[in-house]
Symmetry: C2
Subunit: 179 residues, 2 copies
DNA sequence: GAATTACGCTACCTTCAGTATCGATACTAA
DNA sequence: TTAGTATCGATACTGAAGGTAGCGTAATTC
């Protein structure tokens, strides 16, 4: 059942495109990482990218979803889980290309409701739901948690150009509030 | 001394340009608030804008410096000062056009070192210095404070499209950390 | 009146997101 | 083997937007 449909199958280039995206954003920054350059870095045609993702923002979002993967929400107690989650997202944002891509697509989303919808549902919602379950907190409270953690990390990255290196202060502050 | 220099004096249009900028950003959002449209809304030529500010980001930054004004860093003790400061910046970011302009120029600055310099020195530094003095905290600590407060407020605005209405949680969290 | 500086206007350059088209390619079904 | 279908690469193009150049004109000082 569910045999392969007719027509030429899509070539498995998603991973190559994601890698080329992060590499290009890391080297040139979000704005100068044009779709043309990303396509060239991946060795494919620009039109192929637009056949798979409806916009540059959607491509970046898909790339981030792939790069982040599932969050490691494990630990003996709430404090350990929260600490691990903060350190995990901070480390991810510190990886080459990921932080710049995240900040770039986030800022694009501010004035683009469609992109905001994509970003919210495809990237944030899975982690929000998982956090609500494992922490037993309300949606409102988890959203506040995400605002503080991600907002702080992105503000530091955007204002200084470098990711936050010492996350201890942030962890302690959050722990005092969510213990 | 310091008599008026020769040549046609600049017309006093800065206030009109700032007002037109906030109005246009409020109506159309940061991206669609093009320099052409802002100039048209102010009733002047686009070239006049570029004679006074070197880029769109610099114009928005100057507009924000003007709109924010000095921070009300008053209160009987540290807790009152911190509370007032947080409520003040949250209210400002909630004003029509200001939050969108702030988020927009911030995100532009992420991949534009020149603009980041302008934003950091002209907008953030005055408040950072004033906070260091009145709170007696280190530069590192005050920068962390700014990262958390502004980052949280901008993340909420960018992710939901609306400013944070209930700032109490943020105030309490910060107070627990900076008491 | 001469020099100087700002303004408005028009035209222009460049970059980039996104689209259209067309021939070639890879696969399914008969 | 052939017809049908869907993808890919390549090229060209559109439209929007930031920013610049040049020119005539207006305002002010000396």
């Amino acid at each position: 059942m569910s045999t392969r449909p007719p027509g030429r199958p899509r070539s498995g280039i998603d991973d190559a495109v994601f890698a080329a995206t992060l590499r290009t954003v890391h080297e040139l920054g979000y704005t100068r990482a044009t779709v043309d350059r990303i396509a060239a870095a991946a060795g494919i045609a620009k039109t192929t990218i637009y056949r798979r993702w409806p916009s540059k923002g959607a491509l970046i979002t898909a790339c981030l979803v792939d790069a982040f993967g599932p969050a490691p929400l494990e630990g003996a107690d709430r404090a350990e889980i929260i600490t691990a989650a903060i350190r995990w997202i901070a480390a991810k944002i510190g990886e080459p290309g990921i932080g710049a891509a995240f900040a770039g697509v986030f800022t694009d989303a501010v004035n683009d409701p469609e992109l905001r919808q994509i970003l919210s549902t495809q990237l944030q919602d899975p982690y929000r739901v998982a956090l609500q379950e494992v922490l037993g907190e309300s949606e409102q409270r988890v959203l506040f948690f995400v605002d503080v953690v991600v907002g702080t990390l992105l503000h530091r990255l955007g204002m200084t150009g470098s990711p936050m290196v010492d996350v201890d202060d942030l962890v302690e502050m959050i722990l005092r509030d969510f213990r």
